[in-house]
Symmetry: C2
Subunit: 283 residues, 2 copies
């Protein structure tokens, strides 16, 4: 009994170690990408993340049997991150092409595809590349090299603080039927950590880039990011649950698949872009 | 036996009469809308057509039980036709809001909604209002009052010529498992009729508006409209078939629902808008 408890503990520690190591490797990759983010490398990186995420979705939903739809979805996903400076017209044309192709396939293979599969593939093919591409759109704004960090801090500070404060203080379940490990204490820790992180970043941004963020706007943005991140995270959990999968993949040891790590980014990226479009965060 | 054949014939004639009368009423409404199409009346008309079409879709798919999703979809559909002159930023913001609301509902009611329903509702909520709104976008272009007609001629000339040439010469089934009444002869008649209609319209446009269309571009456009119209029509048929419905509704006697009449418009409208965005049809 004791040895099996020890084994379980070892396994848990091992898992956490993996998680931390993968996290550190990821952080290093992110910093490297940041340093070349004023080039097309960022667009290619987002195309890659989108395609990997879509691939994981096709596996989970078992739509992978519709390989022709997956290829179509990949082609579309590869194009989207390069549309940062494009017009509504090009955007509409691309979406029209995607829809027209999907429906042509539905008509030609009415027994093979169901409308609901076409709908789900359309949803995933639109939101995954478009929402991730908001990272590129944000980076291409004036002061984009500063704003860039808001997305990752907004999504991942919450993930990290929620994980550790949940482990330390977690008692009350947050959403037991969706994500049994999440606790209310974790959620509160994530929120406080993210807000503090944004305050610290306000000073860092002043120091490094001489950019003067308006602190109350930063605090509101931090709260909004936490909400968007949690909804993204829980959405991913619901999808996994509905398709009886534990993780989206195994590409990131200790984390799961790409979508397991990027699920909170999915809604935070467009949120940050929209906020920056409609208000200035800088004095 | 003879009397029942006579009854069937009477019923068929009666049905055709209804169809023609409804068609004429529709044409009169269209002409009235055209004369005020430089005002917001056109935007409101398209919002109405979109909402009615979405309502029919919610009934057919039995998603009508998710009344909260339907209302969300209606609100979005009502906004889209007014975005003719908007920027990508506003567009992205609206789509983000729609997606965020849909996923929040999925998270809050994971047992009530399935990802595939969310996907289908997203697909319908995007393409129905966006694609119909291309009528508004086309009308707001320079020479929009001329281009406006290309959409309706491109979709409905084919419907009319295909129907009558199918009735006169129809022998070989076009797509028996999707739409058993369609014949190859009807399709050819529709194609020829639409091309001829576009050629006639070229002269009409010169006479009425002094607009000089390039005739070979008009012929290619006519062929493209027929293809887009047929795919739209067949897509609607597949959807009806997959959900075991004969028509989308009863609002238009002899035609069926709004979607039964507008299904061919669905892909023709964005096609015409995209073509006009990327090439000039005028000398």
């Amino acid at each position: 009994m004791q040895s099996s408890t020890k084994e379980a503990m070892d396994k848990k520690n091992n898992q956490m170690l993996k998680r931390v190591i993968t996290g550190c490797v990821g952080a290093v990759i992110l910093i490297i990408v940041f340093f070349v983010s004023n080039t097309l490398v960022l667009n290619f990186a987002m195309a890659l993340v989108s395609i990997l995420s879509l691939y994981e979705m096709f596996v989970i939903t078992k739509y992978i049997k519709h390989i022709e739809l997956m290829v179509l979805s990949f082609v579309f996903a590869a194009a989207v991150p390069f549309l940062a400076s494009t017009t509504t017209k090009v955007l509409m044309f691309l979406i029209f092409l995607l829809v027209f192709a999907l429906f042509s396939m539905l008509v030609l293979n009415q027994n093979r595809y169901k409308l609901e599969q076409i709908g789900t593939i359309f949803l995933l093919s639109i939101i995954i590349p478009f929402f991730f591409s908001n990272i590129v759109f944000v980076r291409r704004l004036e002061n984009g090299e500063v704003y860039f960090w808001l997305i990752f801090l907004g999504a991942w500070l919450n993930d990290i603080f929620a994980l550790f404060s949940g482990m330390l203080f977690g008692k009350h379940k947050l959403a037991p039927t969706i994500s049994p490990k999440k606790t209310i204490e974790g959620a509160i820790g994530g929120l406080i950590g993210t807000v503090l992180g944004f305050v610290v970043f306000t000073f860092v941004a002043k120091l490094i880039w001489n950019v003067d963020f308006i602190i109350w706007k930063m605090i509101i943005l931090a709260v909004a990011c936490v909400i968007a991140g949690v909804i993204g995270d829980l959405s991913a959990s619901v999808i996994k649950r509905q398709f009886q999968a534990k993780d989206f993949g195994t590409l990131m040891p200790g984390h799961g698949g790409v979508m397991d790590r990027f699920d909170s980014i999915l809604f935070v990226a467009p949120l940050v872009y929209c906020v920056l479009n409609f208000t200035s965060l800088i004095k």
